[in-house]
């Protein structure tokens, strides 16, 4: 009886521990994806668009922080395909992979910045 209750307790604790691990496991890939976007953004984009895409270095450079995810993907892909043209951005976007485009768009769209209404 005593052994059985001990075993039950062990099983219950295992189950609890496993349950607690689930959110951790789920959040890890998401974190890794954001990290990849952040890293790439710091290397490739921050020089002109500023840290987090929030402080562009020239007035004609857009803020990216908080921009719609889908718009950022569209803009980068348009530059990659040549549907949109800018001497700097066309050159920056061309070497990006589909995955990197998604990671960058995800990262910038999650930074606080642009709004729908002024």
């Amino acid at each position: 009886m005593n052994t059985k209750s001990t075993r039950l307790r062990v099983v219950r604790e295992f189950a609890l521990a496993a349950a607690l691990c689930v959110p951790l496991l789920c959040s890890t890939p998401a974190l890794a994806k954001d990290d990849a976007g952040k890293k790439k953004a710091e290397q490739a984009c921050a020089g002109c668009h500023g840290p987090d895409g929030n402080k562009p270095v020239t007035p004609e450079t857009p803020r990216l922080a908080g921009q719609q995810y889908g718009y950022l993907v569209q803009a980068l892909n348009d530059y990659r395909k040549g549907a949109r043209d800018d001497p700097v951005m066309s050159a920056m976007a061309k070497p990006l992979t589909e995955k990197e485009v998604g990671e960058l768009a995800e990262y910038f769209s999650k930074q606080p910045g642009l709004t729908t209404k002024p």
Binding site: Y71, T116, P118
Partner: protein, 115 residues
């Protein structure tokens, strides 16, 4: 330096004209926020709705422009008007805008008055 008063006057005139021209370029970029707000009614239908995607003439995710840099907004509108940036709806709208309209709209969306 100048052989006659006439030549001096001409030089002075040229210099003032050049100064006026130089000064007028940045001045034309000064937007009126209030006028921009009135003009912005035509933008609200798409840009005023969070995460809006146009369905016609193509599926396109509409960018957020609240807080965007005013000079970038003006550049985008000019590029649409010139046709160097392509989007049917935006090209159609930009074609109706004067430089002053663009500056007013940019000033409104950038929130210049609050800075």
């Amino acid at each position: 330096m100048y052989s006659s008063p006439m030549k001096r006057r001409c030089a002075l005139l040229a210099a003032s004209a050049a100064t006026a021209f130089v000064l007028s370029v940045p001045a034309s970029a000064d937007g009126d926020r209030t006028r921009g707000k009135e003009r912005a009614q035509m933008c609200e239908g798409c840009h005023g709705i969070a995460d809006y995607r146009t369905a016609y003439p193509e599926v396109y995710p509409v960018p957020k422009i609240g807080g965007q840099q005013s000079a970038y907004i003006v550049k985008a509108l000019r590029d649409y008007k010139k046709g160097t940036r392509k989007h049917a709806t935006m090209q159609g709208i930009a074609a109706t805008l004067s430089d002053q309209d663009m500056a007013d709209l940019a000033s409104y969306y950038a929130g210049d008055a609050r800075k």
